[in-house]
């Protein structure tokens, strides 16, 4: 930011540790999530190297189990969700014309608890072995009887801590979207990405507490010899499956709905057309969110819940195809007759559509309970969920990053490198996972570390491994693109694509810390596009220029995350004094926060006008 202040401000590292600015927190989420994405990707490559030929012994059986567990856990909780949180933080307040989120302090707290939880989980590699009971951590495999290293302890405590951060973020964005919209921004004028985040946040709010209970119960079993999942003393192992999937299935929609939102923005912008069927899009998003809570037992068809339960969950699952289909058709109709720009962001968005349809079709196949007995625990399932998560979510994230990069960092990513990223990643992805459908149908079980020669698995596993390498190349090219773009000097306008439709494209790139000099007046859906069509250059302000109130930075969230980290480690190793000390840090910080009022500070008018001229 170009202008100095008379109030207390930190610079350098301290600025990043103490920041409560949603745009900076977004960048922190992107850095941390990107880092974990690389770790999870490396784990995936190692898995594929182990499987490239029959009876390979590159990894031991136990190391392979640690790899698949950490690959799944890292990618979902520490890579995909944080990168989504990065985009939500960077963009949602701008899209609704807000100067900040509802709870800037909690926003920072959410980031630091996530980061410390993720670091705790990954420390397990150096502390006697990572979790090795699968990302679903089913009991009795994850019980103290069969899993006697500290691995699963790291899983339950690490996820518990980072889960706190996610829940806080969910509440924060619900309140932000409900209470902080600019004048005129009614619910049915909100951009599709904001709608998607709104529904996602509600899913987080109602799904994560179930995981909290499940993890706490497993932790009690492991650390304090409770008997929730110990059949010898009356415990019930199926109970874990229910709790995990009551959280776990909404989690799938927590991941994919924001991607749907991103795709809706990118396709509309680069087709230069209003999103087709906006209200049906909103309806479909809400309906998917609602149905997402009704289908958890389709992960448990082979558990033996009986034909009635299986039939009901089967039908509920197939129902989700209806709103999802609405969305697919809406995207196609948005492109229909539009003047389409095939840049990197839009290539990822267009590539998303058929890829996600393939994942959806195998989803309906899996939803047929009798057929699922055949597919269950084979590579068919692995292919299905990678088609929806990588082909859906990760392509969506790449589209969103290329689209909003200029808004977040003030520079457009290189198009040539971007297109290389797209083609290597896209082709690599399909090479890796398309063949896995057939491996699964031929009977190759998932989560095995070796397979015998002569079963007909060899060729397709080799293709899959080559594809994984290609995805790795795509990711490396993306990193090179980031570095070279960061070194380039460039000054962007507020609307670098020229076709911006929503409010984030009315303010400078990157935005000043207060976002909007004057709160905008929203006169319709696609607020900026509407003004452009009416012959105006930008949106009408809803207020005169006046001093802007800002929240003060704070170091407390960092220490609260650190306290939870220390406390978690203490309890895990039965060092109760250390555990109590960690919690004491957390509660002391909470007390300090409550006792000392944050009056914030004001950016005065003269300073604001200096900013405008600069």
């Amino acid at each position: 930011m170009a202008h100095g202040h008379t109030v207390k401000r930190y610079t350098g590292l301290m600025d990043w540790i103490t920041t409560v600015d949603h745009k900076k927190i977004g960048i922190l989420y992107l850095l941390a999530g990107g880092f974990f994405f690389l770790i999870g990707g490396l784990e995936a490559i190692l898995i594929r190297i182990q499987l490239w030929r029959p009876m390979n012994d590159f990894l031991s059986a136990d190391m392979f189990n640690q790899m698949i567990t950490m690959h799944g856990t890292t990618m979902i909780f520490l890579a995909a969700m944080p990168i989504l949180f990065a985009l939500m933080n960077a963009i949602v307040p701008l899209q609704i014309g807000a100067r900040d989120v509802a709870f800037p302090f909690l926003n920072s707290l959410g980031f630091w608890t996530f980061l410390f939880g993720g670091v705790l989980l990954n420390i397990s590699w150096f502390a006697g072995g990572a979790p090795n009971a699968g990302w679903t951590s089913y009991v009795p495999l994850a019980s103290p009887l069969y899993s006697d290293t500290h691995g699963v302890d790291f899983y339950v405590i690490g996820l518990q801590i980072s889960g706190i951060g996610t829940l806080i973020g969910g509440i924060n964005f619900l309140v932000t979207i409900i209470n902080m919209r600019a004048p005129g921004m009614s619910f049915m004028r909100m951009p599709m990405f904001t709608w998607a985040i709104f529904v996602t946040s509600a899913l987080i709010l109602f799904a994560f507490p179930a995981l909290t209970v499940g993890l706490a119960a497993l932790m009690f079993d492991r650390l304090f010899s409770a008997n929730f999942f110990n059949p010898e003393l009356g415990g019930n192992v199926v109970l874990w499956e229910h709790i995990f999937w009551i959280f776990g299935h909404p989690e799938v929609y927590i991941l994919i709905l924001p991607a749907f939102g991103i795709i809706s923005e990118v396709i509309a912008t680069f087709s230069r057309k209003r999103l087709f069927g906006y209200s049906s899009m909103v309806f479909a998003t809400v309906l998917i969110g609602f149905l997402g809570f009704m289908v958890w037992a389709h992960h448990m068809f082979t558990t033996g819940l009986g034909p009635v339960a299986n039939a009901l969950f089967s039908i509920a699952t197939m129902l989700i195809a209806v709103p999802t289909g609405i969305k697919i058709f809406n995207w196609i109709f948005t492109m229909w007759g539009g003047s389409i720009t095939f840049n990197t962001a839009n290539l990822f968005a267009i590539g998303f559509v058929p890829t996600f349809v393939m994942g959806g079709v195998t989803g309906v196949m899996l939803a047929a309970a009798p057929a699922d007995y055949q597919y269950h625990d084979t590579y068919f399932v692995v292919a299905h969920f990678h088609y929806v998560i990588v082909g859906g979510l990760v392509l969506g994230i790449f589209a969103g990053l290329h689209y909003w990069w200029p808004k977040m960092f003030g520079k457009i990513l290189n198009e040539t490198l971007g297109k290389i990223t797209f083609w290597t990643f896209f082709i690599g992805f399909h090479l890796t996972f398309f063949v896995q459908h057939f491996l699964g149908l031929m009977g190759m079980p998932r989560r095995i570390y070796q397979y015998l020669d002569g079963l007909g698995f060899n060729g397709m596993n080799l293709i899959s491994t080559i594809g994984a390498m290609l995805m790795g190349v795509g990711t490396i090219v993306f990193l090179i693109n980031i570095v070279t773009t960061a070194m380039r000097k460039e000054k962007l306008s507020a609307d670098p694509w020229g076709d911006g439709r929503t409010l984030e494209w009315t303010i400078p790139s990157p935005p000043p810390e207060y976002n909007f000099l004057q709160t905008p007046l929203v006169r319709g859906y696609d607020a900026l596009w509407k003004e452009k069509m009416d012959g105006n250059k930008t949106v009408t302000p809803a207020e005169p220029i006046g001093p802007i109130h800002m929240p003060s930075p704070s170091i407390l969230p960092f220490f609260m995350g650190l306290g939870l980290f220390i406390g978690g480690l203490g309890f895990m190793y039965h060092q109760y004094i250390v555990g109590a000390a960690g919690l004491l840090i957390v509660f002391t910080c909470m007390t300090l926060r409550s006792l000392y009022d944050d009056h914030g500070y004001h950016i005065e008018v003269e300073e604001l006008q200096k900013g405008v001229k600069a």
Partner: protein, 207 residues
């Protein structure tokens, strides 16, 4: 947006919702309670799934629970809900003295409740042989009721801190939302107890 309005010393009618920060806090807290509902809902489900899992020779729910003691605890907690309502009403009348008094009564009732619960647990563990690790029933019982007890403890500490703040800073648009959401929290904890009384204790006696 900022807190330092109302220089004339007059608080608005509902000081907890007078500022955007206050409205955010109240809405955010309602949403948080929605999440808490799922948390306790899951704990109740776990308890219901495991409550019959008692091993030979260990006390069953019917043998353990003594309704008079639990009824007394229920009476304490429900009364504290009433006194917290009096506190919020006093806040809306801008009567700081009455507000502090009713908050102190609320905290005191919460403390007695905790005392009763600690005695109850102590009695189960040391005289009835019903420890945390005895059976799946005992683990789920202590987890559900213990989670609630921890919520009461947190509420007691939190409201005590708020009493100190009101005493020092007075009632203004910063402190009012804090008291209001603490009141919401306290009601929520009481409602959970009503369900515990029904699902754990009453059903334990008849089922």
């Amino acid at each position: 947006m900022s807190a330092h309005t109302h220089v004339d010393g007059q608080l608005p009618h509902e000081p907890e919702k007078a500022t955007l920060e206050g409205r955010n806090k109240v809405l955010g807290f309602w949403l948080f309670l929605g999440g808490e509902t799922v948390l306790f809902g899951t704990l109740f489900s776990v308890y219901l799934a495991l409550r019959g899992q008692v091993l030979e020779g260990n006390p069953t729910a019917n043998e353990l629970f003594e309704l008079p003691l639990v009824a007394f605890a229920t009476f304490l907690l429900l009364t504290s809900s009433l006194t917290s309502v009096f506190a919020i009403q006093a806040m809306h009348r801008n009567n700081v003295k009455s507000l502090i008094t009713w908050l102190i009564v609320t905290v005191a009732l919460g403390l007695v409740f905790l005392g009763v619960e600690i005695y109850e647990f102590w009695h189960y563990v040391h005289e009835m042989g019903h420890g945390f690790t005895t059976s799946a029933f005992s683990s789920s019982f202590y987890t559900l009721v213990g989670f609630h007890g921890a919520h009461v403890l947190l509420g007691v500490v939190w409201i005590s801190l708020l009493i100190g703040q009101v005493f020092k800073k007075g009632l203004n648009t910063v402190t009012a939302p804090k008291i209001y959401v603490a009141g919401l929290y306290w009601h929520f904890v009481d409602v959970v107890w009503v369900f515990i009384f029904t699902v754990v204790y009453l059903m334990g006696k008849v089922g």
